[in-house]
């Protein structure tokens, strides 16, 4: 991961001092509520249902053991002993005191962490593929570009009071594990030709999509440039942001995102406007050079580059381990291929039944920090699916790591499966929510606890949001659940057919919203239809929805005379 130089450190320290003074002035009554709000938000601080919520940035999801231990310390000392990893690869603390926040930020700064621009109408934390740099299918390693974007967007003076928040995601593989098409700007790194360059052959660059987003108006982003050579990354993004800052709507909170501007102008016209602005900035001082990029690259630690000579022995051990109950299932779901032979990528599931998705206790954080040091070069990643990843594990270490993770409740073999639910904190914590998310997630996890059944259902993304702001990415779940408020009661609307990745699509609402107690049954019925209809195990739930449409699913979920209905009523009565 990137290590700060003295200037990076000075800036983060200066920010702490600045915010400390702003907080002091607010508490002394020298700063108006509304103005302090704009300032605290750009330092990640919300005032929430129970207490302030502090969102700490984890730039493009990279975290060191040292940093994780600091997060554990913050959780214990200033919070209630746990933290919540969010879909934006950040971590949130739900119980700090406003007066303590400057001290928390000062502690974080000692390990090169901050909460800069994790909220507010600013350029937010840059998100990235959680397998960046290690995925076998990767075309371009996006990490160095993420860091360049982090620096460029941090304290950008022109774009500090945008019409609305602004999210950028970067992916370097065709699979697009960063869900880049549902961001204000989605960058797909790839190789291409730069007509103006002296470099021969193909050079890294980006396919630029703009105007994607979830929220109450979900839209898949439009490609506005097929290939942007790497040198122009910053100047081109500056052009997009400037067009947005000047012409994005400011009259309505709900119409202020970039996606509304792109839609109003039309993607082609918007692209032309950006190109016209860029024509002035192109080849200007923000143009990157090889040295600039190499300097950033040189500050990245490079774990996992030694070829593992014991690989053969590792495979022999692994073969034996597969007869140990549980290991094979974990290996199948939570271990992923690494671009180097002898290494594997491991996902730590934060989706154990009964634990709110993405929540980790201080004790677990410390244990994870130790394990990352022992097994993955002291580094880990946060995924937008609210799990953690060890990116560089020697294959021979997998059995020991599995046992250690099991002891911490972090080895649930459900990555990519139905119970790997993405969920926002929902009405239990968030003041925006219309309904609770966590209890619904848990009720579904309980219904699908049988591992054989879960594995038989195969790959399925189930996402839950407690309101239409869609922090739980429900629009791009194969099954999406949205909490809605009906006359003061919590109801849940189902969507099916959504997907993230290169074939990003938005789910469609199935029918009338259901009561919380009805949701697990409805999911079970969706699965029944899927299992009846699939042509083979290779055809996933979302593939079947695409092939046969949503009608058969809708019919089953809302059928009154379904043979299971009586049984279902009985079970509801018991519940």
């Amino acid at each position: 991961m990137y290590r700060y130089d003295p200037i990076d450190q000075r800036l983060v320290d200066a920010r702490v001092a600045q915010f400390r003074d702003q907080t002091r002035r607010y508490l002394a009554g020298e700063l108006e509520e509304e103005e302090f709000k704009a300032l605290r938000l750009r330092n990640g601080l919300y005032l929430q249902r129970h207490a302030p919520m502090l969102r700490v940035a984890i730039p493009y999801g990279l975290l060191s053991s040292l940093q994780l231990r600091k997060l554990a310390h913050v959780a214990r000392r200033y919070d209630r002993g746990y933290g919540h990893f969010s879909t934006r690869q950040n971590v949130q603390f739900n119980w700090p005191r406003l007066e303590d926040v400057p001290d928390i930020l000062a502690e974080l700064a000692t390990v090169q962490m901050h909460a800069i621009q994790t909220s507010g109408n600013t350029i937010r934390n840059i998100t990235c593929d959680h397998f960046a740099g290690v995925a076998p299918d990767e075309v371009v390693d996006p990490l160095v570009w993420c860091e360049l974007l982090r620096q460029w967007s941090t304290f950008h003076p022109e774009f500090a009071y945008l019409p609305r928040k602004f999210k950028i995601a970067v992916s370097g593989s065709p699979a697009d594990r960063a869900a880049s098409l549902v961001h204000d700007i989605g960058l797909a790194a790839l190789m291409g030709t730069d007509p103006d360059s002296k470099e021969s052959g193909s050079v890294p660059g980006f396919r630029v999509a703009a105007g994607g987003g979830l929220g109450r108006t979900p839209i898949v982003g439009h490609v506005i440039r097929e290939f942007l050579p790497w040198r122009h990354l910053l100047s081109y993004l500056e052009a997009i942001l400037r067009v947005y800052n000047r012409y994005g709507r400011r009259d309505s909170l709900h119409k202020a995102r970039l996606k509304i501007l792109v839609k109003a102008r039309g993607p082609e016209a918007f692209a032309r406007e950006v190109e016209a602005e860029w024509s002035h900035l192109r080849n200007g001082p923000a143009t990157l050079t090889q040295q600039d990029v190499q300097r950033i690259e040189a500050r990245f630690s490079k774990p996992g580059t030694d070829p593992d000579l014991t690989a053969e022995h590792a495979e022999f051990t692994l073969k034996k381990m597969r007869s140990v109950p549980g290991f094979a299932a974990w290996e199948r779901r939570n271990v992923h291929p690494h671009r180097l032979p002898g290494y594997a990528v491991v996902t730590l599931s934060l989706k154990k039944t009964g634990v709110p998705p993405g929540d980790v206790t201080a004790g677990q954080m410390e244990a994870i920090a130790d394990l990352a040091e022992r097994y993955s070069f002291g580094e880990l990643r946060v995924t937008h699916e609210q799990n953690l990843v060890f990116a560089d594990v020697a294959r021979g270490d997998l059995p020991a790591l599995w046992q250690a993770l099991r002891a911490q409740g972090l080895a649930t073999p459900n990555i990519g499966l139905l119970t790997n639910i993405i969920s926002c904190p929902g009405g239990d914590f968030c003041s925006l929510a219309n309904a609770r998310s966590i209890p619904v997630a848990e009720s579904i996890q309980r219904r699908f606890e049988d591992l054989d059944y879960l594995f038989d259902i195969g790959e399925l993304d189930l996402n839950i949001s407690g309101c239409m702001n869609a922090c739980g990415h429900h629009h791009v779940g194969h099954i999406g659940i949205l909490g809605v408020d009906k006359n003061g009661s919590e109801f849940y609307q189902l969507e099916i057919g959504g997907s993230q990745g290169a074939r990003a699509a938005l789910g469609r609402v199935l029918g009338p919203a259901l009561r919380a107690a009805e949701v697990p049954d409805a999911i079970e019925r969706l699965i029944e239809v899927y299992l009846e209809q699939r042509d083979s195990e290779a055809e996933r739930f979302v593939d079947v929805v695409r092939r046969i449409g949503s009608e058969p699913f809708r019919e089953r979920v809302y059928a009154k005379d379904h043979p299971e209905s009586a049984d279902r009523r009985r079970r509801l009565a018991v519940a």
């Binding site: 001092a17 700063l31 103005e35 304290f155 003076p157 500090a160 400011r250 050079t289 600039d292």
Partner: protein, 173 residues
């Protein structure tokens, strides 16, 4: 005389803002009032309508733009002006930051560039980086205390009106 911040110092301000409504419509006598002499700031509509009279009078001229105005509205005439002011109706409306950079970096404005309206201490640093060099703080702001804001962040990563080279290139030097 009212005080403003110019080049990080508190100074007297001799500019007078003209009332466009009063100077664009005929008065009770049926005549459009004359534009006063001296250093005046004309809202861009007034500047467009009565440019010749403004330039023909003794005294310097400034033009006031709103966040939504295009810099092209005054770009060809910048040589005639001694001040450009940008009004922030609300501190959270960031359009003026882009406008400032365009005036400085694209249209070559070297004269005084003033932020006015809902301008307070915590905006000063970024405003300055975008090219503003004078600041008319809103009512109730303590100008002396606000000066501290300029020094809050010592470095910046990006290219901007005050940083012609990005940090990544300056680091190389």
């Amino acid at each position: 005389m009212p005080k403003i911040i110019r080049n990080r110092r508190i100074v007297d301000d001799g500019w007078r803002l003209l009332d466009a409504d009063a100077l664009l419509a005929p008065g009770e006598d049926g005549f459009v009032p004359e534009i006063p002499a001296g250093d005046v700031v004309a809202p861009v509509g007034l500047w467009r309508a009565r440019r010749d009279e403004l330039t023909g009078r003794p005294g310097r001229i400034g033009v006031l733009l709103a966040g939504h105005d295009e810099p092209e509205a005054i770009a060809p005439a910048l040589a005639m002006l001694s001040l450009v002011a940008v009004r922030f109706d609300k501190f959270s409306d960031g359009r003026g930051y882009s406008l400032a950079r365009l005036l400085r970096e694209r249209h070559g404005w070297r004269g005084e560039l003033r932020a006015t309206g809902d301008v307070a201490r915590d905006q000063l640093l970024y405003l300055e980086r975008c090219g503003f060099d004078s600041f008319e703080l809103r009512e109730g702001e303590d100008a002396q205390a606000a000066l501290a804001a300029f020094a809050e962040l010592s470095e910046q990563y990006q290219v901007s009106a005050t940083a012609p080279r990005p940090l990544f290139r300056r680091r190389a030097a």
